[in-house]
């Protein structure tokens, strides 16, 4: 953290912070619902929750419009909602319903909403990096000032495609922001056992403005992303943010069913709970006299109603039929 390439003194202002607090809450409560549905056996597949990491998705996406692109990961619910996807389409998708974002054909690891520039969660670790870089190339050729963001984990930083993309993005000055969500684990392996050196140093070696920040501090993420995205829009090329964070849930919800021994300590989890970005931002807004206890209750109530509505929507929706599948393989061509 010795070097600061994306220095800034922007602040979002209380109203925008409040909106971002509500977005984070929506992600958290939506995922709590999906986690419960997973553990009860109601969900067909598995879910990777991002609880604890919401500030990164929300703060970065606050700078983006529907014309900008986000490439995501297997842990993509937060990116989906932060990019403007609806709780209804997310919950219905994960429940495998035709009304879901992808008609129930993609599932949790593939939630996509192209109308919002969310080019997809991705089941291949590192897959979203290449797609986002391609979207950045498309944006550059189109010349309308669009940008692309790739979110990926610390584990994904070991994929060759990241090095390849960093090289090309710098050479071509792509309007790309690479955001490493460093939560300290790649599945059940501590990052230090699978990543040599510092990930941010790899980005610096390619000559990219790079910043390591506290990913649980929404304002810090927001301010750095502001600079990086502004650079990208102005044609000044890619930047890299390594945001330190922690996932408060397991790698996947089902992991308690097969883990024979814990791979991280309760103490560590408790310690990170005290740094949860949601109460942290709420506290900050209270300190700024921009939020009261009543406001927080109202936000919670709004979000709870939205999640309840989305769940009911999913329950009332039909599963997809084979016709949807056959028309979703090729354009104007039967498989």
């Amino acid at each position: 953290m010795s070097q600061s390439d994306l220095h800034h003194n922007f602040t979002p202002g209380p109203e925008r912070l409040k909106a971002m607090l509500e977005r984070m809450l929506l992600i958290r409560r939506t995922e709590e619902q999906l986690g419960a549905d997973s553990r009860s056996g109601e969900l067909p597949g598995n879910v990777h929750l991002c609880a604890g990491q919401e500030a990164i998705a929300v703060a970065v996406c606050d700078h983006l419009s529907d014309d900008d692109y986000v490439g995501s990961t297997h842990r993509g619910h937060g990116h989906f909602l932060a990019k403007g996807g609806s709780a209804r389409s997310l919950i219905a998708e994960v429940h495998g319903k035709s009304s879901g974002a992808c008609g129930g054909l993609g599932g949790s690891m593939h939630v996509t909403d192209l109308s919002k520039g969310m080019i997809g969660a991705n089941g291949i670790v590192g897959g979203g990096i290449g797609l986002a870089a391609g979207a950045a190339l498309s944006a550059q050729v189109a010349g309308q000032g669009q940008v692309a963001v790739a979110f990926f984990g610390d584990g994904a930083s070991s994929q060759g495609i990241l090095s390849e993309v960093m090289n090309i993005a710098v050479l071509w000055k792509l309007p790309l922001l690479l955001v490493c969500e460093y939560n300290g684990y790649s599945e059940f392996s501590a990052s230090a056992t699978v990543n040599a050196g510092l990930i941010a140093d790899r980005a610096r070696a390619f000559g990219m403005p790079t910043e390591v920040i506290d990913g649980n501090d929404l304002e810090a993420v927001w301010a750095v992303a502001a600079v990086a995205i502004d650079r990208a829009r102005k044609g000044e090329g890619p930047s890299f943010i390594e945001a330190k964070t922690y996932r408060l849930r397991g790698h996947l919800e089902a992991e308690d069913g097969f883990l024979q021994a814990p791979y991280r300590s309760e103490g560590e989890i408790d310690q990170w709970r005290t740094r949860d970005p949601i109460p942290r931002l709420a506290q900050r807004l209270v300190e700024l006299s921009a939020l009261t206890a009543t406001d927080i209750e109202a936000l919670e109530a709004n979000v709870a109603a939205e999640v309840k509505d989305a769940l009911q929507f999913a329950h009332e929706s039909e599963p997809p039929g084979m016709e949807r599948v056959l028309s979703s393989v090729f354009v104007d061509q039967r498989p």
């Binding site: 996509t112 291949i124 290449g130 797609l131 870089a133 190339l137 498309s138 050729v141 692309a148």
Partner: protein, 324 residues
């Protein structure tokens, strides 16, 4: 009509379509110099925005091509040799071939991967593969294997006007083959429509890519022996025009399939299986496949020649079938 080589026909297709649709971009390693000649002149004409040399980074190239296509930019990703598609296979196999389905039909993927296939010039086992059987098994990507300059041009133009991911495989030994090509800027060859190169009554030969020329020569020799050959080039393996093939076998009762891929799970074995299912009662003899053996391709020219399909092998298979 104008006479040109197969690589020139592809070049003409790029030029015409990139003129027609100014959003199309093309990138790949050394596409400015162009080892095969198919991308020659594009950089000078369309500039560094739309025609880009890439680093040797096939993972990024295939992934980025898909991402750019998803974002609305039709993209040609030139991979040089098809073996290099394998170092960039994620973008092809897990992304291009799957994303439209996984997004519930939201994504349109106008991406065309171009690569050379085939042995016969002693490039060794890592530059000699014919890997379309692997691609045929991916589920959501079209595959073109043109054998003539006209088909090369028409199939490339169709790929570039469409919205489906496509692997365009150029049989390398056919690159210099010359043929008449339409100059009509709207000349297109559809996907999933086989070309019947000659009609016949005694035996059907289905030949793919480099085998088309071998089969033409075999058919000529067979004619001298009084055997009437119906010769079919599927041109695209996905979609595959099984209707034309099955109808032909129902008429002739005999089938030889010539395919340079290794035999195991080849296009030939797939076509044989389909015909076995759909035209079993018409068959007068067992179906024969002329393919490469299930081993990597050696370097020495005599061994390459011994292992690859050629007119004599196709002819021998046809004679066995006729005797059956």
């Amino acid at each position: 009509m104008v006479k040109m080589r197969l690589t020139q026909a592809i070049n003409a297709a790029y030029f015409e379509e990139m003129e027609r649709n100014e959003r199309i971009v093309l990138f790949g390693e050394d596409v400015e110099v162009s080892m095969f000649g198919d991308t020659r002149g594009l950089h000078a004409r369309f500039g560094s925005g739309r025609v880009r040399n890439t680093p040797i980074s096939e993972s990024a190239m295939t992934g980025m091509a898909v991402g750019a296509a998803m974002a609305g930019t039709p993209t040609i990703c030139h991979l040089m040799f098809s073996n290099f598609a394998l170092t960039g296979f994620d973008g092809i196999a897990n992304q291009a071939a799957k994303l439209r389905l996984m997004t519930g039909g939201q994504a349109r993927l106008p991406v065309t991967f171009v690569a050379a296939i085939g042995a016969g010039t002693s490039t060794g086992a890592q530059h000699s593969d014919t890997p379309y059987p692997m691609f045929m098994n991916l589920g959501g990507i079209n595959i073109a294997v043109p054998a003539t300059p006209a088909d090369a041009k028409g199939l490339m133009k169709s790929a570039l006007r469409g919205f489906n991911p496509t692997i365009f495989l150029l049989p390398r030994v056919r690159g210099a083959t010359a043929g008449e090509v339409s100059e009509d800027s709207d000349f297109l060859v559809p996907y999933g429509k086989a070309s019947v190169l000659q009609e016949g009554t005694d035996i059907t030969i289905v030949a793919i890519g480099s085998c088309v020329n071998h089969a033409l020569r075999a058919a000529k020799a067979l004619k001298e022996d009084g055997v009437s050959v119906e010769l079919i080039d599927p041109r695209t393996l996905v979609p595959l025009d099984t209707d034309t093939i099955v109808a032909s076998v129902r008429k002739t009762g005999r089938l030889v399939v010539a395919d340079e891929a290794r035999d195991r799970c080849s296009a030939a074995s797939h076509i044989a299986a389909v015909v076995g299912d759909e035209a079993f009662s018409s068959l007068k003899a067992p179906i024969k496949r002329v393919t490469a053996p299930n081993i990597p391709m050696p370097y020495a020219p005599a061994l390459e020649r011994a292992l690859l399909p050629d007119p004599e092998k196709i002819m021998a298979a046809a004679m066995l079938t006729m005797a059956g």
